[in-house]
């Protein structure tokens, strides 16, 4: 449990690390807007190449990004398959008839059952699931002896495939860009950058300093609370709570025995922290100096210009082509 590192920051030394967090956040925003403005599949692929170039120059291992994409893999596949199945314009690329018959219905149930019981022994479960689904679809289209129950057409159109790939590439670009930001910026710097960028919100009576303070305290206390949770688990384990096993009823009790002390300790901690801050005469909203001061370099200006040019050309392409 001590290994958990907050955020995804990995230390490095490339220009992405030397940039000011403010310029990185603004650049991320500009590039994301352009990713949403592109309408043509070829343009977005150019953009993907550009993003990969940034990765290459910034010296970020591509595997690291791929790992970051894994959690949204399900979402990506979900949108991809829906787009492929439901967009029905353009040329037909692929056409087959899916027939559900008495024999392959039973086979299908058998396959699903074997998948259900064997999945825990397979290392890459996700790949296994996809293979099973593709296998079932192939079987439905090619092998259907016996009494026919129902049949439906399965048609893939060109627009569907293109649209699906388009959305997928767009999502990948967005996730990759934001991963670059979190990989190369310390949470504290990110927070400071956000605070500075949101400062104009003071006009609408939103105090960005307070928001930033809340975020930084939350970040600061994650390791502390994890440590505390670990100690509570040990204390309860020595009273016979076995966190690794037990029936559902026991599980609920186990969680309660962990959560109640956790809540009480957190409240006490926040109370102590508030007192400690007051004792050092912290007053919310008062002007304060900073120990870390953000500095804007020429490279930040260059990146800003680059991003504005990208956005401007995107708008140009969108409006005139």
């Amino acid at each position: 449990m001590k290994n958990i590192i907050v955020g995804q920051y990995i230390p490095g030394n490339s220009f992405l690390y030397k940039m000011d967090p403010r310029s990185k956040i603004i650049a991320l925003g500009l590039l994301m807007i352009s990713a949403f403005l592109f309408e043509d599949i070829s343009h977005i692929v150019y953009m993907l190449v550009g993003v990969l170039l940034i990765l290459k120059i910034g010296g970020i291992p591509i595997m690291r990004i791929a790992r970051g994409l894994r959690p949204i893999m399900i979402l990506l596949l979900f949108t991809f398959s829906f787009q492929v199945v439901f967009i029905k314009t353009g040329d037909v690329i692929f056409d087959t008839e899916l027939t559900l018959s008495s024999v392959n219905l039973i086979l299908m149930i058998l396959i699903i059952l074997t998948w259900y019981f064997t999945r825990r022994y397979i290392k890459s479960r996700f790949l296994y699931l996809i293979i099973v689904i593709v296998g079932i679809l192939t079987m439905l289209s090619l092998f259907s002896p016996g009494f026919k129950i129902s049949s439906s057409d399965f048609v893939i159109y060109e627009d569907g495939l293109l649209g699906a790939s388009f959305i997928m590439v767009r999502l990948i670009i967005i996730v990759t860009l934001s991963t670059i930001l979190t990989l190369t910026t310390r949470p504290t710097d990110l927070n400071l950058g956000l605070e500075r960028i949101l400062k104009p919100l003071k006009l609408v009576r939103i105090n960005s300093e307070e928001i930033a303070l809340i975020i930084s305290i939350a970040l600061r206390y994650i390791p502390t609370l994890l440590d505390e949770a670990n100690k509570i688990m040990l204390a309860q384990a020595s009273r016979g709570v076995d966190f690794s096993e037990g029936k559902l009823k026991d599980k609920v009790m186990q969680i309660i025995s962990l959560l109640v002390p956790m809540f009480i300790i957190s409240f006490k901690r926040s109370d102590d922290l508030a007192n400690a801050m007051e004792a050092r005469s912290f007053i919310p909203g008062n002007p304060r100096t900073r120990i870390h001061i953000l500095t804007w370099h020429y490279r930040d200006t260059l990146v800003m210009i680059f991003c504005v040019v990208v956005l401007a050309s995107t708008i140009f392409v969108r409006v005139y082509l």
Partner: protein
């Protein structure tokens, strides 16, 4: 031997990849009956880590701990056939901060939580709770109160009661007297002594109070920088010349005796354990 440490080392993983080694090559044997052990050492010397090995809460990085015949090594937990839970009933460990374990609505529920986890019937556990709450120096009315509305000392007693109710063979206490007033501290230590004497159980107490060590312990263990540097009777500990190196001090009574010896330029025959013994020594010498 109930608990046997063989070349145990333990290191905590840390953020920067370097490991912090909390225990270095510990060899130790603790018998099932009749020992009153105090574990002393400066803050951060590995005392708490050592006692957490005693009921298999953490596993050694190298070496092995054998608890009641069950050998705990680095990979023991991955093998699900070995049940560690029964060990925790035999070796009861009271943590330093009661906040980490109190969670029920009433004190009674909290005390019977441990015994119930080890399969003891609720009625029997409630009977035990009624006896034990008096043992730790609280009245029976406390059973129906909420554990969160108690003072620090009362919480501490309730948390100790929660472990005592499990009726462990060996009782391990991590700084049980910190945050208690002198009267409460003495009462608790008397309670441990009576459990030790009447039921002949082994008690292990982590403490910073040398008077406790001198007055109650039959054996003292000293930890210094992750190593077990002393294992023996308190009498020889306090005549050991390394004692200042380990950042320990002497019990009050020994300090007074030493001062008297220097000022009066005499040598007493024995070391006194309390004021009366010192008085007799001084009387004999004059």
């Amino acid at each position: 031997m109930a608990i046997k440490f063989e070349q145990v080392s333990f290191s905590y993983p840390s953020f920067d990849g370097k490991n912090f080694s909390a225990l270095k090559n510990i060899n130790l044997e603790i018998s099932e009956k009749g020992e009153f052990i105090t574990l002393i050492g400066e803050t951060g010397s590995g005392k708490s880590t050592l006692v957490q090995h005693m009921n298999a809460l953490i596993r050694p990085t190298t070496g092995s701990v054998t608890i009641y015949g069950i050998k705990i090594e680095k990979n023991t937990n991955k093998n699900k056939r070995i049940k560690l839970n029964p060990l925790r009933q035999k070796v009861g460990l009271v943590f330093q901060f009661p906040e980490y374990q109190l969670f029920e609505e009433t004190v009674q529920k909290d005390i019977i939580f441990g015994p119930k986890n080890f399969g003891i019937k609720e009625e029997i556990a409630i009977e035990r709770a009624k006896e034990i709450i008096k043992l730790v120096g609280l009245s029976e009315d406390y059973l129906s109160r909420s554990p969160f509305n108690l003072s620090g000392g009362e919480k501490k007693r309730v948390s100790i009661a929660g472990i005592l109710a499990m009726e462990p063979d060996i009782l391990v206490l991590d700084e049980p007297t910190s945050g208690l007033d002198p009267k409460g501290r003495d009462a608790l230590l008397e309670l441990f002594t009576s459990i030790h004497k009447e039921l002949d159980k082994t008690i292990i107490v982590i403490t910073h109070d040398m008077n406790t060590v001198y007055k109650y312990a039959s054996r003292a263990l000293v930890m210094y920088d992750g190593e077990l540097v002393f294992d023996g009777v308190p009498n020889s500990l306090f005549s050991d010349k390394h004692i200042t190196e380990w950042n320990l001090d002497l019990p009050d009574i020994i300090q007074i005796t030493k001062q008297l010896e220097e000022k009066l330029d005499i040598k007493f025959d024995s070391k006194p354990h309390n004021v009366d013994e010192l008085f007799n020594l001084v009387k004999g010498a004059l």
